[in-house]
């Protein structure tokens, strides 16, 4: 089953600051199952990039293996993509980012790709604070191999196979916060009002940003007994609040729902505005974020929204390594090769 996008587009489609329409951010037709949560996330990525006026060719799309990892083919068709090997996207993304620090890096992975086979690489790309947006399309199962439980499946949850999962679930958001990620959020593929601003905040974050998106697998894991089904998520979802991403040089509007507002300024002057019901939550604090996650887990709720956005000046990998400001892949030969007279000087140390 594949989803075909309409060919006809209204001539007066809205344009962004670069003069592009949303269509310029689309990719190939999806080959995922009809109703797959991943397609909704794909659309949210398209919308976020469109709204942020990111050049449609200026993104590098990275993925591993699995249903989720196919999606980079379905958005930003003018950008290069790299569908690597299972669980190894973080290292490929690290190398690509080292070669050219001027592009926007979006990694798409799944729960199997990240929380099982790719757990090591995931943990270390967080530690390195690579400047990228890492999106997990989290459905709690291995779709492409027909529905085995994954490491994010909740204990006791059962998929279409009918056996309750006996193992503890890995919470990727809690893990990322512990490992020092500067931006950590969880969305739901069924709630694009929440997801798009979460993605926009992630894309503007300087450093590693994780957006874990619960994305029901309609074919294998959308049963009444699954905690990753549309119904269960809708019934148990609690949000940290309503978030909005305000780009630089835009007026901050008042909170549109009653509550407490917390603003976090991004490195480029953009502002994340969180309107929340609970003023004890402080998204700039790791501890507060972990407490909130644990609190809701105990209650059997699924907490979504922005958990953590660091207000500290983050050191991303290039800053840590003190690499030159110019992208490494653009350096000319004379900047790289010291020449023969220097070689002779070097060799004097070996005489």
């Amino acid at each position: 089953m594949s989803t075909r996008r309409p060919i006809f587009r209204h001539p007066d489609l809205p344009k962004n600051d670069l003069g592009h329409t949303r269509k310029d951010y689309e990719g190939a037709d999806s080959t995922l199952c009809a109703g797959c949560g991943h397609d909704s996330i794909t659309n949210a990525i398209i919308q976020a990039c469109f709204e942020l006026s990111i050049p449609p060719h200026g993104v590098v799309k990275m993925s591993g293996i699995g249903c989720s990892s196919k999606t980079p083919a379905y958005f930003l068709g003018k950008s290069h993509g790299f569908n690597s090997v299972h669980g190894r996207m973080p290292s490929i993304a690290t190398g690509a980012n080292m070669a050219n620090r001027d592009l926007v890096y979006i990694g798409v992975s799944g729960d199997g790709d990240t929380a099982s086979i790719g757990m090591g690489q995931f943990a270390h790309v967080v530690r390195r604070n690579l400047n990228m947006t890492y999106i997990v399309m989290n459905n709690g199962c291995y779709g492409l191999t027909k529905g085995q439980d994954s490491a994010t499946a909740d204990r006791g949850s059962s998929s279409r196979k009918g056996h309750p999962n006996p193992f503890e679930a890995i919470d990727l958001c809690a893990l990322a916060i512990q490992l020092g990620a500067g931006y950590v959020a969880r969305g739901f593929s069924g709630d694009k009002e929440q997801l798009i601003p979460l993605l926009k905040g992630a894309l503007q974050h300087n450093g590693f940003a994780l957006v874990d998106v619960i994305s029901p697998c309609v074919t294998f894991n959308n049963t009444a007994t699954s905690t990753k089904s549309y119904q269960w998520v809708r019934d148990h979802m609690e949000a940290t609040g309503t978030i909005d991403f305000i780009p630089p040089r835009h007026e901050i509007t008042a909170c549109y729902e009653p509550g407490i507002t917390q603003n976090v300024t991004m490195h480029d002057g953009g502002i994340i505005q969180l309107c929340k019901d609970d003023d004890t939550v402080d998204i700039t604090s790791r501890r507060s974020a972990l407490d909130a996650l644990e609190h809701h887990r105990e209650k059997g709720h699924l907490l979504t929204g922005l958990f953590h956005a660091s207000d500290q000046e983050e050191e991303e990998t290039h800053t840590i390594l003190k690499t030159t400001a110019k992208s490494l892949n653009s350096l000319a030969e004379e900047q790289l090769c010291p020449g023969n007279s220097i070689l002779e000087k070097i060799l004097d140390d070996y005489r």
Binding site: A73, H80, G81, G95, A99, N100, R128, P338, L343
Partner: protein, 615 residues
């Protein structure tokens, strides 16, 4: 008893405890021999351990320039009590045994065919050196001073070396020089005329350098324009990246002191190669360095880079396998694992450096090859080459040389294109397609890289014909590679001899010594040194012109022989394996013995009668 007597031709072995500072003292000695113009080859035989286990440092001095391992020891400096007896027993008859006589030798040290050189090293150090911390370190320098006297060496060369070594901390030079004098003076007072081994300055080495292969490899990566390195620590490859790091800090800084290279210590070897592949894909010259266990882990990614056609350089400094094997011993045993790394039909370009000069040259060249061929290039070094110092001719860089960045379409070329860009379209018929870097053009040239089956436009395909076209094009590219990789070095010494020999890498020194000695006995052998894979026609032609060809290598199973049989379609009977698996660098003696066995049992005339000169 006949003392071993020789000028500039002997082997001296230092037996120490690792972590005691002996390595730099022993290196000081080897460097001094080198600076006297005498060909020298030190080999560090060290444990996989940081402190407390036995370690040996073997130095072969040979003014004929034979610098492979010889085997046998003419002079032993025995500083390690735990191996004292073993070292004592290992000494050649008529050899010299220098030991710390602060403690007397046990009664079972009862050889009467060797010369004892007792020096109370500990006692001297305790008496003469105030700082207890320095005593241990300087004890090593004291014995070097004594050895210098015994071998008639010019002490000023050693002192000069120390001064150079501590040029930034001259205060440290003084106690070292004093220690050198202590040893020298003691030996002068007690052992005048005792030792008949000596080192005389000679002019065999003119412009030569003494450098380890890993440093030369790191230097090659600097000159080859590498900007990204992903790596994971593993003996014996670690010093490749250390060297690259050191050179980039000096020669790759921009005006603000920021580095024009990114070196990332990864979480494992998988990630290390992944980082290099990601960078290579995005247009940076990138590499990783590892050894056998890392190569095994990297197989998955090598398959991806082969199939998705991404340039990347991998330096494999081979060690003794299988599994963890002997991490600090040398071997040439990753040949097949590297050549065919990864599942499915894969083949990788291999380069086989034989000395540090080639480590430099081939590493620099490997980036050109990887980008031209859009595929992994693996440099097959080994521990002996990588971690030991070798005397070689100095590297040179032609300032007119430019990097070959391969077939890459830039913005203007894409702009001018009228047809649709196809990442895997073989437009030139050489199997190599055009690639683009991300963000090269706003609307043209983007593609989706994948390790899954893809068509000419990089789209996923399960069309069997498209898959087949892709795989067959890769074999076409393999043919193209043959015209680009370094050619073998062939020496035809006799048009009519029945014997050929094929070897590569660190086997070279000992093999050449063996051939010279066999020629002295009237056995003439033509030789071919493999320098790369895929094999050019020269390899099969060489083998086919001889009745029998020896394949000399340092592993158990004759991996290079298997590769030749498989790739060149050679009848296995024509290839006689000569292998060395004692985890020590192969000796000329071992090669000669194995070759003579075959030659003697053969009825074929080995030589033309008028050429041989029997001894």
């Amino acid at each position: 008893m006949i003392k071993i007597k020789s000028v500039n031709d002997f082997v001296i072995r230092f037996a120490n405890v690792n972590g005691s500072g002996s390595a730099s003292a022993n290196n000081l000695f080897a460097k001094a021999v080198f600076r006297l113009g005498v060909p020298v080859s030190p080999k560090n035989i060290f444990p996989s351990n940081i402190q407390g286990l036995p370690t040996w440092y073997e130095v072969r001095v040979n003014d004929q320039g034979h610098l492979g391992r010889r085997g046998g020891y003419d002079f032993i400096v025995a500083i390690n009590n735990r191996t004292l007896k073993k070292d004592y027993d290992a000494l050649e008859s008529g050899g010299y045994f220098l030991y710390d006589s602060t403690r007397a030798l046990d009664d079972n040290f009862d050889r009467n065919d060797i010369i004892l050189v007792p020096i109370p090293l500990t006692e001297i150090c305790n008496r003469e050196i105030e700082s207890p911390k320095l005593r241990q370190l300087l004890k090593n320098i004291v014995y070097v001073g004594a050895v210098a006297y015994l071998l008639d060496m010019d002490l000023s060369v050693l002192k000069d070396s120390i001064t150079r070594q501590f040029s930034k901390k001259p205060k440290l030079a003084e106690p070292n020089i004093n220690a050198l004098d202590l040893g020298f003076d003691y030996a002068a007072q007690h052992f005048k005329g005792l030792c008949e081994l000596s080192i005389e300055p000679c002019d065999r080495l003119t412009n030569h350098i003494m450098i380890d292969g890993n440093t030369a490899t790191g230097l090659g990566a600097l000159y080859g324009g590498a900007t990204v390195a992903g790596w994971y620590p593993i003996t014996p490859s670690t010093s490749v990246v250390d060297a690259f790091d050191k050179f980039t800090r000096r020669y790759r800084l921009d005006e603000e002191g920021k580095c024009r290279a990114a070196i990332i210590q990864a979480e494992d070897e998988l990630a290390a190669l992944g980082i290099a592949i990601g960078a290579g894909w995005n247009g940076a010259r990138a590499f990783t360095a590892t050894s056998g266990p890392g190569l095994s882990l990297m197989s998955e990614f090598l398959g991806l880079a082969y199939f998705a056609e991404i340039p990347v350089v991998l330096v494999d400094v081979q060690r003794t396998g299988p599994s963890t094997g002997m991490p600090t011993r040398s071997q040439q045993s990753d040949i097949l694992a590297a050549a065919y790394a990864s599942h499915g039909d894969t083949r990788h370009v291999l380069l086989f450096p034989g000395n540090p000069n080639e480590c430099f040259e081939m590493t620099a060249q490997s980036f050109d090859l990887a980008e031209r061929l859009q595929t992994p290039v693996i440099i097959m070094s080994d521990l002996d080459l990588g971690m030991n110092d070798h005397v070689c001719t100095p590297m040179q860089w032609d300032d007119g040389r430019t990097f070959d960045r391969g077939k890459v379409l830039d913005h203007d070329q894409l702009e001018a294109m009228t047809e649709k860009f196809g990442r895997y379209l073989d437009k030139d018929g050489d199997g190599i397609c055009y690639r683009t870097y991300p963000a090269a053009h706003p609307t043209k040239g983007s593609y989706f890289t994948r390790g899954s089956s893809h068509d000419e436009y990089a789209a996923y395909t399960e069309d069997e014909q498209a898959y087949k076209r892709c795989m067959l094009r890769l074999t076409r590219k393999w043919e193209t590679a043959k015209s680009l990789v370094p050619k073998p070095h062939t020496e035809i010494n006799d048009d009519t001899t029945a014997w050929g020999a094929v070897f590569f890498g660190t086997t070279t020194q000992s093999a050449q010594e063996a051939f010279e000695r066999l020629a002295d006995r009237g056995i003439v052998i033509n030789t071919l040194r493999i320098r790369s894979f895929p094999f050019q026609d020269e390899v099969a032609d060489f083998i086919n012109r001889h009745q029998t060809t020896f394949v000399i290598e340092q592993n158990r199973d004759g991996q290079m022989r298997s590769l030749i049989i498989n790739e060149c379609g050679i009848n296995p009977d024509r290839l006689v394996p000569i292998t060395n698996i004692d985890s020590m660098p192969v000796t000329a003696g071992h090669i000669i013995q194995a070759m003579e066995q075959t030659i003697d049992s053969s009825k074929a005339p080995a030589t033309k009668p008028d050429r041989g000169e029997e001894r």
